[in-house]
């Protein structure tokens, strides 16, 4: 987990530290085991539905990408903060082995009900910069005071 970020240090427009992954078949099989989703679309390159969809390779689970966005916001919240809400839409497919970059940017800082809230735009993007999993998040951060 990253060092603690405090509410007073965050500014609108600030980018969260991004990271890039390129999940291989072994990683997606591990995710299938951890999540319970064994849809062959994600690990069997001979699965007939892939051909029907015009694809040559397996698709990364949407929920895998959701969890990557979760890693981003969890690290940003730090041990003294908390992720209040995060959601994404699965707008584009990412294929196995291809790079996926996970990003976020602060859209607002506000106080509500005694909580220090940070609103974020979050997303994954493919190698062409297309946002395949756009969404939003709200994180509670501690105050220095």
């Amino acid at each position: 987990m990253a060092d603690q970020t405090y509410f007073e240090d965050v500014k609108e427009g600030q980018e969260l530290p991004s990271f890039t992954i390129a999940p291989d078949k072994q990683q997606l099989v591990k995710f299938a085991a951890g999540s319970g989703d064994f849809n062959p679309l994600h690990f069997d390159e001979k699965f007939p539905m892939l051909k029907a969809m015009g694809l040559q390779d397996n698709i990364v689970h949407g929920r895998f990408k959701y969890a990557q966005v979760g890693r981003l916001v969890f690290a940003f919240a730090g041990p003294k903060g908390r992720v209040k809400k995060f959601g994404v839409s699965y707008r584009g497919m990412d294929l196995i082995g291809k790079p996926i970059t996970v990003k976020g940017v602060v859209t607002a800082t506000r106080k509500d009900g005694g909580e220090n809230l940070i609103d974020l735009d979050v997303w994954t993007e493919d190698a062409d910069g297309k946002k395949t999993t756009p969404g939003t998040a709200t994180v509670i951060l501690p105050s220095k005071g």
């Binding site: 989703d37 995060f86 839409s89 969404g135």
Partner: protein, 161 residues
């Protein structure tokens, strides 16, 4: 393109109709397996002593974990793992394809190993766009020990006709 499905009053009448509850134990093993599955190396998901030193009850379930079903061979879908249970809405949806449309989770507390969650789910909304039927279900997760709501999750599936 004409819509392949009609959201009738009968369907709308099923909005909010709850499923039977589903109980899931959150264990150190299930949390670690999920963390490994997403490629995380954060010790908060693996090391109980470290997690406690940071103020957590035990290792923390990664964001996205909530909704991971406990598997029972008599009741769960063998491929997707989700439980088949009584109650809830019954829809006769198109079957040419099924895609995940989106996921949104609101947390009221972090979920940690040792927690037991009781989940109920209900149909929240059905929308149609051409050959795509968007079905949104909302699940509510309560801590079995306290009865407190710890998370709400909206899941949208896209059924192709």
């Amino acid at each position: 393109m004409a819509d392949v499905f009609e959201v009738t009053d009968e369907i709308k009448a099923q909005y909010g109709k709850e499923t039977e509850p589903w109980v899931s134990e959150v264990t150190t093993t299930s949390v670690r397996m999920y963390a490994r599955g997403i490629g995380s190396t954060d010790p908060l998901h693996y090391d109980v002593d470290y997690a406690k030193s940071q103020g957590f009850r035990s290792i923390v379930a990664p964001m996205g974990y909530v909704g991971t079903p406990v598997f029972h061979p008599d009741t769960n879908d063998g491929t997707f793992g989700f439980p088949r249970r009584g109650g809830g809405a019954r829809l006769n949806l198109p079957t040419k394809g099924l895609l995940d449309g989106g996921t949104e989770t609101e947390y009221f507390d972090y979920i940690c190993a040792g927690d037991t969650l009781v989940e109920t789910s209900h149909l929240a909304e059905v929308k149609v766009r051409g050959n795509m039927v968007f079905v949104t279900n909302e699940a509510v997760f309560k801590d079995q020990a306290t009865g407190k709501v710890v998370a709400k999750q909206r899941l949208t599936s896209i059924h192709l006709g």
